[in-house]
Symmetry: none
């Protein structure tokens, strides 16, 4: 019977809680198995309140993806202030740095990552972009020819790398089984091992 604004309520706070619960539920149960009723129940508000802050279920999910993507890109692009060497070594060093940044971000946002990097439709795009960024990096360091010793096409190699990253993220990072730095190092070892050794 009692309607209207809740005692002690606050708009931004409600939205924040809704977002948090949505991330948790979408991540744990997936988009289709998460009902809006679940989210609002978890956030302890009513359904119309949900629509006060989000246009639709789909829009919210999209928001979360955008949120993930911007964090992800930011982590990827955050320039390390150190001077970057050129050549393969410079590339590998920078890549490890970037992987580290990425993995830190992921470790700090595992549920959001599950949504934006693993489960959502848009995750395909993110992974494609990641691939392209890495390839871009290779060209920037002018070391595409150095990679020919791998005897497979560079594109395939990077696709492979990205696939490998995805799985290792799922198994080790989202489950908190490895530290970001360790995993970044492992991946670099795996893919650029000979490099490190010989140089």
């Amino acid at each position: 019977m009692a309607r209207g604004r809740k005692f002690n309520s606050n708009g931004e706070r409600s939205k924040q809680i809704l977002l948090e619960k949505a991330i948790e539920l979408f991540s744990d149960k997936g988009y289709y198995q998460t009902k809006i009723s679940d989210i609002v129940k978890a956030a302890n508000v009513t359904q119309p309140t949900f629509y006060l802050y989000f246009k639709s279920k789909d829009a919210l999910y999209n928001d979360l993806n955008i949120q993930f993507q911007s964090g992800f890109l930011e982590a990827l692009e955050s320039q390390s202030t150190e001077i970057v060497e050129n050549g393969l070594k410079g590339f590998v060093t920078l890549l490890e740095q970037k992987l580290l940044n990425l993995f830190v971000y992921i470790t700090e946002n595992p549920k959001l990552t599950k949504i934006g990097f693993i489960e959502s439709e848009q995750s395909h795009i993110v992974k494609t972009q990641l691939t392209q960024q890495i390839i871009h990096l290779i060209y920037l360091h002018d070391c595409d020819k150095d990679l020919q010793m791998y005897s497979v096409d560079m594109k395939i190699m990077i696709d492979s790398l990205v696939g490998s990253m995805e799985r290792l993220i799922i198994i080790y990072l989202l489950e908190q089984k490895k530290l970001p730095a360790d995993l970044a190092n492992d991946i670099i070892q795996l893919y650029f091992w000979k490099t490190k050794e010989t140089i």
Copy 2:
């Protein structure tokens, strides 16, 4: 008004068409976005006919997963008749053979693979099993120590390999952009490159 049997109807055929359309739709649109009404429309039968052959939408999806899994496992286990060498080289040779079989199966069943290896809940289990099988193979060939030169834990290496496989399958095999043999070779090159060269 006209009820009952169609002119040239045949049970097995109807079931077959339903299966094919289901694979196509589940693969293209995903489980939740594929309605039974879509499937039966595509198969040109009515909804009750669907339930003549499948217990429920869920049961059908599960059937498809089982079907994929058994084909997948069969491909993985099909023994090549050649004598298998021991040691790393033997392992790598056999692994390439198995990847080839797998990739042939996948190329022949791209949509089913998308369902059973990429999209479904059960795909996690399949990938875990694949990982374990490869590790098992390593021990069988008694070459786990040979892999220590990779300077990363073997488990991580194989996890990485499986992740890589998944992504390359999506990009190159499901899209028919590469031949099974070529992709198998590429992966072997990527992960066991030094081996090949030095031996």
Copy 3:
């Protein structure tokens, strides 16, 4: 694939089995919870065979009611060959005889009775008719005034008697807990006790 007439099949036999299974199922589970698929499964024939012998589920149910009713009425009307006395005593003696006949029939057809006397829509009519028959009997024996000592309206008394019969049939006859003769006697005792004693 093999269609057409079953080896050793026989029309009347199929119909008989269907009837038996239908009685059993309708009686045990009720009209709505008994599916035609249940009946034909129990009878080990296919659904179209059912429609070979019965126009519809409803028609079959109605047939069973008719069958019950005719057996019931026959039992009720079967004239005992003994000469019937007039007056209350004659009435009571005859009523007991009739109850006995009825109860024998019911004991021999418990499942059909459950359908036709307890569960079906038509059972109301049967009970009303039973009531009227008994009242008719009273007038025939010209003993309606004798019953005024009961200090309740005769109609109510007979309604009560019929209700009592129904419940005792359910509890004692359908469950085979009492013999027809015993139950008939009990009921007579209960309702015409004083009579018996004083006359």
Copy 4:
């Protein structure tokens, strides 16, 4: 097109109307022939509104049974404040009182009674309980031996009484053909006539 809340809508009222219409329809047409669409049509709401207040059709039906049973039991147990005599006379007096209470309740809730006492599966239990309560009453008044003059087993006598009650309720009470007090008196007369007279 117009969704959302109605002008003068009120939750409790909607639920109440739904309950009333459900009682009416279940009572008139039976469980299986009453569709949820019928109920909501009668209540002038849409189907989802139904599920706002009831978990399922079955759950609602069960609720109605519970509602009937508790009213029924309450009526049966409501202690008359008068001092109760011991012996047969006390028992008969109390029983009549209780029948009266019961019949008043039934007269006030004829449709609910039809559901809970006549049609539903659970009605069997209710009648069994009623029988046991009456038998309990007999023992309480220590007059089981007094009833041996009836020359039939007491259990059968009470079963008969309950059957009689059921039928008389259907014919006279649900159809509003008799007043509660009159029917209670009639039944007492019928079953304990001699008692009344001789004492």
